[in-house]
């Protein structure tokens, strides 16, 4: 075991892993994190704690991860390259490890311009860091864990033992380069990969085939990302505006149909779309788990954590494995 985290144990046991997502609030109140942690607990092996997603200031990933851990939910602390240099990152790794965090996902992070893309003022004038990129950050974590060395070469008395993750956008362009992009992250030391949300399973299958041919799927645990669709509008938006996400027309049609069935009843339209969204998610999970090399799913029920229970149960992924000495 590299880290001994629950997520690592599930993957090592050969069972399909399930990770979820927990977005910290724009608030100093811990209760939102506590509430979400208790909803997710039991329905995933670990939950990603996002690191100021869309560049919006929220409870820091490390702090929210500790709150989740206290509630009995294993966190995957996300760390973006946007906000910290290698000094701050490594200091946070030591701190996070000292606080009991065992998984970390390295990502580039949304550009700070995103913070003002919606209704918020955000901080589009902030200075970003990008001292290191995702591949380099993965390499730093591996070096700390396996060699007990900081990036600069200084020794660590006690090394932080993380299960190291990275993200992958298999359908981002340039698409033919994406398998190599994955290879670089695996070469750098990524123990697990969580993908961008996938709706087009055929396309994903083709990219996975390329990853398999590069010998990557024996070297890293691939968790297919599924973003739970809530409405036809959300699917259309994801298709048109979210980088690296394509949504087959048939799925949008299904959601449209669910919406239309409700007629003018807005509440019912919402409920029917949510039901259809859960159904679609379960189907996508089952399709993803059949692809050779897939070791689990990363289910993102964004601001809809209660969807996890019915999804995980319907997908036959419940109960989650437990380990006696964990």
């Amino acid at each position: 075991m590299k880290s001994g985290s629950n997520l690592e144990r599930v993957i090592a046991s050969g069972k399909m892993a399930v990770t979820a997502e927990l977005g910290p609030p724009m608030s100093a109140d811990p209760h939102e994190v506590i509430k979400k942690a208790n909803i997710l607990k039991g329905f995933c092996d670990a939950a990603n704690i996002t690191d100021c997603q869309t560049a919006v200031v929220r409870i820091s990933s490390i702090a929210a991860a500790v709150i989740a851990l206290r509630e009995g939910l294993e966190p995957v602390m996300q760390m973006t390259c946007r906000d910290r240099n290698r000094i701050a990152m490594q200091a946070d790794f030591l701190g996070a490890a000292a606080l009991g965090i065992k998984n970390c996902l390295c990502i580039a992070g949304d550009h700070q311009m995103f913070s003002a893309a919606g209704k918020l003022k955000g901080h589009p004038g902030a200075k970003n860091v990008y001292d290191v990129d995702t591949c380099q950050l993965v390499g730093i974590m591996k070096k700390m864990r396996d060699e007990g060395l900081q990036q600069g070469g200084d020794k660590l008395e006690v090394a932080p033992k993380f299960f190291v993750g990275a993200s992958w956008t298999p359908m981002g362009d340039p698409m033919d380069f994406r398998p190599y992009n994955l290879k670089k992250k695996v070469d750098a030391g990524a123990d697990f990969i969580q993908t961008q949300g996938i709706y087009d399973m055929e396309l994903f299958k083709a990219q996975m085939e390329k990853a398999r041919n590069l010998g990557l799927l024996e070297r890293t645990a691939m968790l297919a990302g599924i973003i739970v669709p809530k409405s036809a509008m959300m699917l259309k938006y994801m298709d048109s505006s979210v980088a690296g996400v394509t949504v087959p027309k048939s799925l949008i049609e299904r959601m449209n149909k669910a919406k239309a069935t409700a007629g003018d009843d807005k509440k019912k339209a919402r409920e029917l779309q949510e039901q259809e969204g859960i159904k679609i998610t379960v189907e996508l999970i089952q399709q993803a788990l059949e692809i050779p090399g897939v070791k689990g799913v990363h289910i993102q029920a964004i601001e809809w954590e209660t969807a996890m229970e019915p999804i995980v149960k319907a997908a036959g992924l419940y109960p989650r494995p437990t380990f006696p000495d964990a």
């Binding site: 311009m113 990008y130 001292d131 980088a243």
Partner: protein
């Protein structure tokens, strides 16, 4: 070349309005090419300041001058005596020029008339693009001649992030994704495999993160010293 843009006129007026004798001082190299601060622009700005001063009833003498370059001492020599008769120099040179003059002029303020913006090129008249970040540690041989430091919004060194959308950057759909361009270019060159190697964390101390930078070309300095010595000996 260095590309800049004239500051908004109102901002310039706020800077200069308290001075009695102002010299608008242009530079005829980079900033002239980008229509920001050459002799012509300095002249136009002078007219605008005179008009504004008249409108506001402010007693102010505004003149203009320009030299070929604001980054080498000899270009200033013929004009320095005159420059020192003003109580403000509004420089429309790049920031290098403002600094260089401020270091030499004595107790006269030098204010910037332009915002120095980037190292760029002119793909078409009136259009300027940033192409180099002056990072002090060039990697263009690894990236098909396309700079990931300054053309990628995140200065990524190991390939595109997840934000590439139809070849465009997540920051703006008018901005090309540098890594999309790099991958396409490397394919064309038949050297895509160069991108497969993980690039380690960079040493940024060669850039602006290592404190102010200096380059000393020793043989040129030695030669100059020798010349001076010879001149002195001959003179004796």
């Amino acid at each position: 070349m260095i590309v800049g843009q004239q500051k908004p006129f109102d901002e310039i007026w706020e800077m200069v309005k308290g001075f009695k004798k102002v010299l608008v001082f242009g530079c005829n190299t980079c900033v002239a090419i980008c229509h920001a601060g050459g002799g012509k622009e300095a002249e136009i700005l002078t007219s605008l300041l005179r008009m504004k001063a008249a409108q506001e009833g402010v007693d102010m003498q505004v003149d203009n001058a320009a030299i070929e370059r604001h980054c080498e001492p000899e270009f200033f020599e013929p004009l320095m005596e005159k420059v020192r008769t003003y109580d403000l120099v509004l420089s429309t040179a790049c920031g290098v020029g403002v600094n260089f003059l401020a270091d030499r002029i004595g107790a006269i303020p030098v204010y910037p008339g332009i915002n120095t913006t980037f190292y760029g090129a002119v793909p078409e008249a009136g259009f300027f693009v940033e192409l180099c970040g002056g990072c002090g540690n060039c990697v263009l041989h690894l990236t098909g001649g396309i700079c990931p430091i300054v053309r990628c919004s995140k200065s990524l060194m190991n390939g595109p992030c997840g934000g590439t959308n139809n070849g465009k950057c997540e920051v703006s759909n008018e901005t090309d994704c540098a890594w999309f361009l790099i991958v396409e270019r490397m394919k064309k060159l038949g050297t895509l495999e160069k991108l497969f190697e993980v690039q380690p964390p960079r040493d940024w101390s060669t850039g602006t993160h290592g404190g102010p930078r200096r380059i000393s070309v020793e043989h040129i300095r030695a030669f100059e010293e020798e010349e001076e010595k010879n001149a002195a000996t001959e003179g004796r």
